[in-house]
């Protein structure tokens, strides 16, 4: 492709800055994936917490639902 036709990321027509302070080091990828894993583990734990919250109450004998 002709380089002259490339759109510059900081072209004034499109004012949103697309760069930020994090680099592209693979360590940051690992950090992001670790955060995602933690969030997913939290979501799965949340499913089981809901199961636990809706168990019939032994003290009152309530068998709902």
């Amino acid at each position: 492709m002709d380089r002259r036709t490339r759109l510059r990321v900081d072209a004034p027509t499109y004012p949103v800055a697309c760069k930020n302070s994090l680099g592209t080091n693979a360590m940051f990828d690992l950090l992001m994936l670790a955060l995602l894993a933690a969030a997913f583990a939290g979501a799965v734990g949340y499913v089981w917490a809901c199961v636990d919250l809706t168990k019939p109450c032994k003290a009152t004998g309530d068998k709902s639902p």
């Binding site: 499109y14 697309c18 930020n20 592209t24 955060l35 969030a39 979501a43």
Partner: protein, 574 residues
């Protein structure tokens, strides 16, 4: 305000109301039963199950359904993350964009997998065509299908008797994608191409302007992304300025179609619900409650935007409506849409979970900003996203019948199912966790330097930028107030957390309620049963939404848009 503006609103209301019954029936017939289209395309559907190793006849408990959903979206987030991080090495990148930075890639992946579409980037300056098509557009389809699947699972909870299962997640997602989303997208996509929306894999082009300068015109596979962006309640645009861009939304007619697409599935699902539980009148009652809240919000926004902006008067700006100009508060709005369609679009996009914008919400008056934020804060119950609107309003309906039952001292029933402690517990969990995230994270951002660094305005307007961002994220709306510099590690990561929590913290209890309701027997209606058809129920439901949903946020709104409104009256702007 003009008669043309009111006419557009009337046409929109008529068309969307007309779509409720046919589309609602179509969804009910082809998603939960063997409809004509489903029977015709069954070989293709079954081929997909064989390919994926899914037994379509195997039903799932709510726990299996929820875990399948979570795994599915984890895979989606990872795939979209990888596409963005590797886009510089992959094909279909004619502009040779670099890889997206890790925090922005995570934010974007979570955003589209959760049907939020918050965008901390400008699409045309950041994403390759492959990332846009195979990443973002695919997730738009799948996240919308998930929302509808969860709603259908909840409806099965009401419709089934003494059952241990609520459907099969893989079957639901496949059918909704094949029979609902794809056909509408093909037809509406062609309509948008006819109106002038580009659909090409060619590189950006250089044009010579009238002044002799040169300008790069970004283009790409826009129509195919645009149509699912709207239909999915997703809202993530190909271009940075979203539906304000003439290549996304070229004409007022295209704008009308875009608004219809945003609302179409959300309103139709009220009818699907009515059909599946054998009570279409109740489906219309839910639609009426949504319509009332929508009309009230729209009236405020149009009245606010359709009149002069007092802050501009001292500068001698002519704001009169006339044959040569739209007049009123045109700041931040496109001339081809005017105030009427901009106010309508802003209300549609914030009452749904879509978040597409055809004007800059930051430039609306504070009262309009208040309504737009309140629309999102009500947990997406005024139409909402595909599926999320229906299960959102059903959560409030459960609170409504529970409160009505307390008033007369009997165990409440809703559509023949007794609403007991566990259902109410899960409902409250779903309804209160989202406000906790919105207010908590806004509070944290307001005291941390990283949060304050992103603000472009001072005072209550700056606070509004921050509150709007977390509201938009946790309510899975994705629209932006503008003004906030959100592409920083702090905002990318905290907004990703808000979006993840806002989606799944609601969906899991909803599926739990579906499982519990499905297991119950049906109780015959008696003299003490609360009728769920008439104005009494609609009034109670709207009141519950406003009291439970709205008042949670009143202090935050009082500090921000309400304070800004009175400051503007006194001549203070920020």
């Amino acid at each position: 305000m003009t008669w043309q503006g009111w006419l557009q609103i009337a046409v929109f209301a008529a068309l969307i109301t007309a779509a409720v019954k046919p589309l609602g029936g179509y969804i009910a017939r082809n998603v939960d039963a063997a409809g004509r289209v489903q029977r015709a395309l069954a070989p293709m559907e079954n081929g997909l199950y064989r390919l994926a190793g899914v037994d379509p006849a195997e039903e799932q408990s709510w726990v299996s359904y929820a875990l399948a959903l979570l795994w599915f979206h984890l895979a989606g987030i990872l795939a979209l993350y990888a596409l963005q991080r590797l886009q510089n090495l992959l094909p279909l990148n004619p502009q040779q964009f670099e890889a997206v930075t890790p925090d922005l890639a995570l934010n974007t992946a979570v955003s589209f997998a959760t049907n939020t579409s918050w965008q901390s980037y400008g699409g045309e300056t950041t994403m390759s065509y492959l990332s846009q098509m195979a990443g973002i557009t695919v997730q738009s389809f799948l996240s919308a299908a998930t929302g509808v699947a969860v709603a259908i699972a909840l409806v099965r909870g009401f419709a089934r008797r003494s059952a241990q299962t609520i459907g099969n997640f893989w079957v639901d997602v496949t059918r909704i994608t094949l029979y609902v989303l794809l056909p509408i997208c093909v037809i509406a996509g062609l309509f948008l191409v006819w109106q002038g929306v580009p659909q090409t894999l060619g590189a950006y082009v250089s044009a010579t302007t009238l002044e002799g300068g040169s300008q790069i015109l970004a283009r790409g596979p826009v129509a195919s992304q645009e149509v699912i962006k709207l239909l999915s309640g997703d809202g993530g645009g190909f271009f940075n300025v979203n539906s304000a861009h003439p290549f996304e939304n070229p004409t007022a007619l295209a704008g009308m179609l875009e608004m219809l697409l945003i609302f179409m599935i959300g309103v139709a699902l009220t009818n699907t619900f009515g059909r599946m539980v054998g009570d279409q009148h109740h489906g219309w009652a839910l639609f009426a409650a949504m319509a009332l809240m929508f009309a009230a919000g729209l009236a405020v926004v149009y009245a606010s935007e359709g009149t002069h902006n007092a802050a501009l008067s001292p500068f001698g700006i002519d704001q009169a409506t006339g044959p040569l100009q739209a007049g009123a508060n045109m700041e931040g709005k496109e001339v081809r849409f005017g105030v009427g369609q901009s106010a309508l679009f802003a209300t549609v996009t914030t009452t749904s979970s879509d978040g597409a914008v055809n004007s800059m919400h930051d430039s609306f008056k504070p009262l309009s900003g208040l309504v737009m934020m309140a629309n999102m804060m009500l947990d997406e119950v005024i139409v909402g996203g595909p599926g999320s609107g229906l299960f959102g309003i059903l959560l409030f309906a459960i609170v409504t019948v529970f409160a009505a039952g307390l008033m007369i001292g009997r165990t409440p029933e809703y559509l023949g199912k007794k609403i007991e402690g566990n259902e109410v517990k899960m409902t409250i969990l779903a309804l209160l966790c989202v406000p906790a995230f919105i207010l908590g994270m806004s509070g944290v951002a307001a005291v941390l330097p990283s949060g304050m660094a992103g603000l472009n305005n001072a005072g209550p307007h700056g606070f509004s930028e921050m509150l709007y961002a977390y509201t938009s994220g946790a309510a899975t709306n994705g629209s932006a107030f503008a003004g906030l510099s959100a592409n920083t590690p702090f905002y990318n990561l905290t907004l990703a957390a808000a979006m993840f929590a806002g989606r799944f913290i609601v969906i899991v209890p909803v599926l739990c309620i579906a499982g519990m309701l499905a297991a119950k027997r049906v109780v015959p209606a008696s003299a003490g049963t609360l009728p769920t058809h008439g104005m009494q129920f609609i009034g109670l439901l709207v009141g519950t939404v406003i009291i439970v949903g709205g008042l949670t946020f009143f202090p935050a709104l009082a500090l921000r848009p309400v304070a800004e409104h009175f400051a503007m009256q006194a001549g203070l702007t920020y």
